[in-house]
Amino acid sequence: MKILLVGGGGREHAIAQSLAGSAHCPRLYCISELINPGIRKIVKSGGGEYIRGDTNDPSAVVGASLKFGPDFVFVGPEEPNFHGIPDALEARGIPCIGASREVAELELSKASMRDLQWKYKIPGRLWYKKFKTFEEAVPYIEEYAESIALKPARQAGGKGVKVIEDFQVYLQDDKRKVKKEHAESIVNEYMKGYDDIEYRLLIEERVWGPEYTVQCFTDGRTVVPMPAVQDNKHAFDGDLGPETGGMGSISCCMNLKYGVEDERAVITEEEYRRSAEIVKMMIDAVQKETGKRYHGISAGQMMLTSVWGPTVIEMYSRLGDPEAANVLTMLKTDLVDICEAIICEDLNRVKVEFEDQAVVVKAVCPEGYPDRRDLAKGHPVALSASGNTDRILWASAEDAGNSIVTGGSRVVECIGTGDTLPEASAKAEELCRGVGLSDGWNLFHRSDIGTEKSVLRRVQLGNMAREIYQYRERRGLLGKRMIWIPGKGLMEVG
């Protein structure tokens, strides 16, 4: 059996490991922009080939497929989905795990996602407004917007989102100024070069609560949810610092428990079930809307909010990074069996099982990430030989022949497992310490991810959101927002 993997980041390294571990003993091939040292090793040992190529170019990926003749192609990142790679492959009769262009709209356009969610009245929908130009948004920001999230209307590599709390009237002028400037930079900078979407800017209400990702396998008929994973977006310890692509993620059993034998959890089993149900509703809605089948992965980037309980923040059309490492570490079922079932649309016949364990993934980054990637790039990486290197995933790193150099983003992801999250965190921590840069440039990682203090804080945050949303639910007010505007009357949203 032969499989072609598209993409060369930490997520794809996790996928490659998982596929390579299959009982089908597949020969793995890979195409990506950078040569990922970890994937390269797997590909080589199986006798496959690794080629450098533009994964967003259908002709390049189709070309590679025709050359290698894989049984199926596994698309890792979102951009190839947005560029119609799965469509191009299927047009050639090459089976593919990857959302087709039309269903990937759920991720590509944050505006379309909300439109759809509201149209189908899917729970966990936030109030939003979309704009085609900056000028359109200005009067709105000046007059109404209070605590809001400003987002590029399109998925822009996870960048450009800014959440601004604006309830302190005495600081309003400063906050509105930054809101406007950021809205402008979303339109002019973050959205620059994306011409596949009409809208530029999305403004959503700001909510609070613990965030978590529910990733699902789907063949378009059956939706199989994977364990909930929580990513940590702040660059530095203690949830401090600018937003990153994710500094590490935690998971334990299906619903983010503190430990396998522990009662404490970030979300309840019921909330997990409801979240998975929401993802299923989103998949059903997008299939109904487009008439296309969803083959691959769909994920809800969720938050347990006081307004709705489980609430959709964004949708993914692929596995998350680093969340992929969590679920694939826990996955007991053969990933190749799952892929084949997705392709044959009989996923309902596969019993997908996950290990009851705690997994903590920590990303190690060169100093400079995330805001000065130019400085973070090009440093030679040194891994101490000790430790289980299967538990270290290569991410933004390039195999430069005689050395491996940083690509400017998260360089490796270290995986720790255990019976409790703090235990798994300590294991990941150990691995992180074995990573260095041989030119003396600094690396950093989050030592707090998965520690008792950090996890219990999230459990507590969940408890607070739960108390409020359950109260609202009992009163029949779930998702309803009422605003009394003096002189105008009562406005209801929801």
């Binding site: 800014k162 959440v163 601004i164 709390e165 309830f167 302190q168 005495y170 600081l171 002028d173 400063d174 100024k177 930054v178 400037e181 950021h182 609070w208 977006k233 702040h234 660059a235 530095f236 310890d237 203690g238 949830d239 401090l240 610092g241 600018p242 937003e243 100093e367 400079g368 805001d371 000065r372 400085l375 600094n442 950093f444 804080r457 507590q460 945050l461 607070m464 959101a465």
Partner: protein, 437 residues
């Protein structure tokens, strides 16, 4: 003492100036004589002034994404406004007192600030490197917290190893970090966090902010703690957390213990505004004696006890504390105050209250007798002025004209905090100070 703040906004589009103003206002109770800030981006701007924050910063403005600042209770004639310019490239706001510096001989002929400057020059050659600033504060002994900044946009903010003075860390989402003397600053200018407004910075620990990182570091080893217990009695705001303990909870507990230790038959409980109000409410809850508002203020709210001279203090008290006669006429009053230093403002209050017809006045104090000085910068007058050092409770009652007078015991106060006895500096109450190595 002082109130200190550091604001570090990662995104240069933010202007920290107004955040600094309102943050300092939230610390105004820690110093009302001078206020100042240094605000940095490509350039550095220092603004200081006399009086309250709104007076000190009236008709000026600043621009920059990094800011350090402070409010001070010392008159401009006696001490420099915060932040102190330590060298031409390093400034620091310091709360409390650095009492000695390893490797430096203190020159009694120089001012406090001049000693800091000279020692910095001698020990660190005036360097602005983060390592130099860290080394300097690792040599400092005493009871202090600090926020220091250099011209490279790096900030070091920490607590001395004894932890006498508080310091907390708060956040502004993905946009920045804030350090301040008290957590109430985060409520006013930080993000709305439903769990806890701020994280305690441990004694000897410091937060480091640079354009590319933010991390906690251990600057000094800290084995022995000596938290200032007076923070809980009077210094801190009731909506703050000090050493992770909510101040309001301690004040409520003080009131409850006062009721137990100094119970008396009475008709009404009245707290001396503002600090003693929670004591009185809790005393009332514990005893069932109704609590009343006994005073109305004229003019601006000031912390009269922190005024530098007696006339100013009495002026403050008399304007702040006009007795509402209807609340006290013909009644036996339990009058609760937070502390007694010289006793004359309290005598004034008792006199005013009797004049308005109070039948009996039983004074209860939410802290033990003040008998000694504070080496860490809380203004305590000379020992010959301290009424509690020289007179017994019965005598004090006679002197101030009250029917009875009682302090809270030191044990009672320590227990009210919920922390262990050995973790405090209680020097002002018993003359026992932490050893400053």
């Amino acid at each position: 003492m002082a109130g200190i703040i550091g604001i570090y906004l990662f995104d240069r589009r933010w202007n920290a100036y107004n955040f600094g103003i309102f943050g300092l206002m939230a610390l105004q109770h820690r110093g009302q004589e001078t206020a100042g800030m240094e605000i940095l981006n490509e350039s550095k701007q220092k603004i200081t002034g006399k009086g309250l924050v709104e007076q000190a910063f009236a008709s000026v403005s600043g621009k920059g994404n990094i800011l350090i600042g402070g409010v001070s209770p010392y008159p401009a004639e006696e001490a420099e406004a915060l932040p102190i310019t330590v060298s031409n490239k390093v400034s620091a706001s310091i709360d409390g007192r650095v009492t000695s510096i390893d490797g430096y001989r203190w020159d009694a002929g120089l001012s406090y600030e001049a000693n800091l400057r000279r020692s910095y020059e001698e020990l660190e050659s005036g360097s602005e490197e983060l390592e130099a600033i860290k080394d300097y504060f690792s040599r400092c002994r005493g009871g202090f917290s600090y926020v220091a900044a250099n011209n490279k946009g790096e900030v070091l903010a920490g607590r001395g190893s004894l932890g006498v003075k508080p310091l907390v860390l708060g956040k502004m989402g993905f946009d920045g970090g804030i350090v301040a003397s008290e957590s109430c600053v985060m409520d006013i200018i930080g993000e709305r966090v439903p769990i806890s407004p701020a994280e305690n910075i441990e004694p000897g620990e410091a937060m480091v902010f640079t354009p590319m990182s933010a991390r906690s570091e251990r600057v000094q080893n800290s084995s022995k703690r000596a938290y200032c217990i007076f923070e809980y009695v009077y210094l801190a705001r009731p909506d703050s957390y000090i050493n992770d303990v909510p101040v309001y909870r301690v004040r409520r507990e003080i009131g409850r213990r006062l009721a137990q230790e100094g119970s008396v038959d009475a008709d009404v409980v009245i707290g001396v505004p503002e600090t003693a109000i929670p004591f009185a409410m809790s005393y009332s809850n514990e005893t069932g004696i109704p609590v009343e508002k006994g005073f109305e203020l004229t003019g601006r709210r000031v912390r009269s006890a922190m005024k530098p001279n007696q006339v100013e203090r009495l002026k403050g008290v008399q304007l702040k504390l006009n007795v509402i006669s209807e609340a006290v006429r013909g009644k036996r009053v339990v009058l609760i105050d937070d502390s007694v230093v010289r006793g004359n403002t309290l005598a004034n209050i008792v006199y005013l209250m009797k004049e308005k017809g109070a039948k009996e006045i039983h004074v209860r104090i939410g802290s033990p007798h003040i008998v000694s000085h504070c080496p860490f910068g809380v203004e305590v007058p000379g020992e010959d002025e301290l009424i509690g050092r020289h007179l017994k409770e019965d005598k004090i009652a006679e002197v101030i004209g009250a029917d009875s007078f009682k302090y809270l015991s030191l044990d009672g106060l320590v227990e009210a905090t919920g922390l262990k006895c050995g973790e405090f500096c209680t020097g002002c109450f018993n003359g026992i100070y932490p050893e400053v190595e």
